[in-house]
Symmetry: D2
Subunit: 134 residues, 4 copies
Amino acid sequence: MYSHSTKIRVRYSETDQMAFVYYGNYAQYYEVGRVEMLRSLGMSYSSMEKSGVMLPVLELSSKFIKPALYDQEITIKTTVKDKPAMRIHFVYELFNEDGELINVGKTTLVFFDMVKKRPCHPPQDFMERLVSYF
Amino acid sequence: MYSHSTKIRVRYSETDQMAFVYYGNYAQYYEVGRVEMLRSLGMSYSSMEKSGVMLPVLELSSKFIKPALYDQEITIKTTVKDKPAMRIHFVYELFNEDGELINVGKTTLVFFDMVKKRPCHPPQDFMERLVSYF
Amino acid sequence: MYSHSTKIRVRYSETDQMAFVYYGNYAQYYEVGRVEMLRSLGMSYSSMEKSGVMLPVLELSSKFIKPALYDQEITIKTTVKDKPAMRIHFVYELFNEDGELINVGKTTLVFFDMVKKRPCHPPQDFMERLVSYF
Amino acid sequence: MYSHSTKIRVRYSETDQMAFVYYGNYAQYYEVGRVEMLRSLGMSYSSMEKSGVMLPVLELSSKFIKPALYDQEITIKTTVKDKPAMRIHFVYELFNEDGELINVGKTTLVFFDMVKKRPCHPPQDFMERLVSYF
């Protein structure tokens, strides 16, 4: 298993008239979480895509426990619990500045060969960096 | 059970560089689906909120079956299968112009008294309009 | 000169905690306005892009006169005042349900050949449809 | 005059199918720029709003010089050139990782008393912190 934490600050644009972060915007926070998790392993999602492999999302689920509020610094803890195959599962735990768990998310993504237009195995260098954690 | 269908057209802003609708933007489509479902029953979410009851989202899940693409007209079929109590469950089925099911979503929302700051029962006129369908 | 009006309904996601539409979201409304203006002439921006010509935005300006509010139906009046050359100028006037002018926007876009990667003249069928209005 | 620079990293959600940052998303970057500029002076926009003064945007203009791309780290340089009165003018210059100027924005905002519902003078502590720069 591999975990990594990163922080984002809630933007005004991300709030709605309830004065909470709009429920659709957490997907962006999860995206930041997993991209920074990859970067912490020395990998760049941007490079992976340039090399012809993209990672579209197949499934998403979220539990909204407490609202995230404007200008709060939110900690996103991203975890890969299982060794990825053609699919990779991420779990996200979001904490507010008081350390309270405010949101839990899960996503399933698929490695997808942009030339052959079909699912594929993860790039070899990706697996090499990740494999020691499982 | 009560179902209602509405249509939206995919905006350029909603696509990402995969040329698909970004996975976080489906939550907006679900929102349009449930608000228009309420309107089809002669109710306005906006009025409910003005009367002091809001409906924050507690849970969200999505399955991304096929991508939604720029400028497509997407049909959002929104269904309430169970009679709501303090919580209400919506199911969303999204279809592209070829009638293909491209996305399924589910959300759980809670009726919330904005003055007392706690969950509450649905407004009476809301239940009166809905109850005959269950 | 050519004008066309279309309507959008303000989504909850587009509001912010001031309970106004976030100022960055008007750019989406302008996009809807110009795309529907093109459609009213029998043209599709989507097809233009598939044929290899895209229309990136070079300049944007907005005046925020009155706020747009949740669930309002906003009329977007889009006007092309001058015959387009390599650049095309759109003016947007937004009206609320009381017919009040709430926002004025202007954008300059450039016809851009996606293969040659440089500005180009408007597609011929585009100009043929538009030219009689100037 | 007072200037402050901050950085943001372009999110996937902020791109569109041109593979550029969508033109409407720069407004969010400007927002981050001015909020961080205020923070650099020891002020918090969030606190100002809680004290009853908000800062809605009256005017926005943007020049799109070069596209911002996915995963780039963008530097936002925010400048207040003139001593604010009831209105405050911000200028934003955005630079990519090669130090190229890619975007210039301007916004005019108004100090607005949320209780009296009318424009007001800037809070006194705000002016005290800022005044020495003019």
